[in-house]
Symmetry: C2
């Protein structure tokens, strides 16, 4: 069985971002057979402008190829003023036209259980882009409330177990979709 490659995207550009920390911890907790790579170039993307979409800017082309190569996408994005971050939405705006997210398995982690508006907006947009959102793998982890850093998350018995379980669910769901796709689509009984 080949390794399942996951692209992890943090919706915050802050170097000490809790959501980025959560994704780094998830990468260390990835189950056997799964590799989680953090996408570090979200801040390199220009602001989305349909007029320059056809020119395929290098940062956009890089983002697209990283997504295409991934078996699944793991997103953790903060909430700014009850909304999705502009940086996260901007990245998704670039991918609407090229259909990179169609049928892509996506799990949504959340470093703040109170960030419900941004999470709902993100889910609505990804569903509109025809991503396969894996709810069983989408969990909120109280990183801020528990005052945890990356090592703290990895060594926390309850939180690390919840993350491991979410990642295993993600792996199972991805394998299921891949089997389905290989068989030529979902079988209607």
């Amino acid at each position: 069985m080949r390794t399942t490659l996951i692209l992890a995207i943090s919706g915050s550009l802050r170097s000490a971002s809790l959501n980025t920390t959560l994704l780094r911890a998830a990468a260390r907790l990835a189950p056997f057979g799964m590799c989680i790579e953090l996408f570090g170039e979200l801040g390199m993307l220009p602001l989305f402008n349909p007029d320059i979409e056809a020119t395929n800017p290098p940062a956009v082309a890089n983002f697209r190829s990283r997504l295409l190569a991934a078996d699944g996408v793991l997103i953790a994005s903060p909430e700014y003023a009850h909304g999705i971050t502009g940086a996260m939405k901007n990245a998704l705006d670039w991918m609407v036209g090229c259909e990179t997210f169609i049928n892509k398995p996506v799990a949504l982690l959340n470093a703040s259980p109170r960030a419900v508006h941004a999470q709902a907006s993100l889910k609505e947009t990804l569903a509109t882009m025809s991503a396969r959102i894996v709810d069983e793998a989408s969990i909120a982890v109280p990183v801020l409330g528990a005052k945890l850093d990356e090592a703290g998350i990895v060594s926390h018995p309850v939180i690390s177990a919840a993350l491991c379980e979410a990642l295993r669910e993600f792996q199972v769901a991805i394998a299921g979709y891949q089997a389905e796709d290989a068989a030529g689509g979902r079988v209607i009984a």
Copy 2:
């Protein structure tokens, strides 16, 4: 009475944007005593990063001073994949920390009556930023459905009348807020 200065912001960077077209038409229909200036530098803003917020990037400082000088803000922003545009949210993200929108009268035009998700997100974020959203001045105009350009909007009897009425409502609301603020806050009867 001094002129009421309105900063108009389009959430699309596309040069032929319907929302920008709508704002240009609104500028031509502004009532006596109101001047509507289109903000043309949304695409100059860097992606919001809390780590560089304190450095006050020139494009951000310019946006902030234009907002501070305005008596009100008129926004028209499209919907991308059932969400606010990244470019629009990015601009707002920069203004959360500096409180530019606190008590600022805002009217939301909408060039597509079907763009309900983005409009709701925009409203939620602006309300969270303590803007005064003037509902009487916030109208949807079917620019796409009616296949209208700027001149077409200005000369359309029904649509131009609706826009003029919305702008007058905006002017009245702003004058009311200014009188209230000058009197030291809202009077509770």
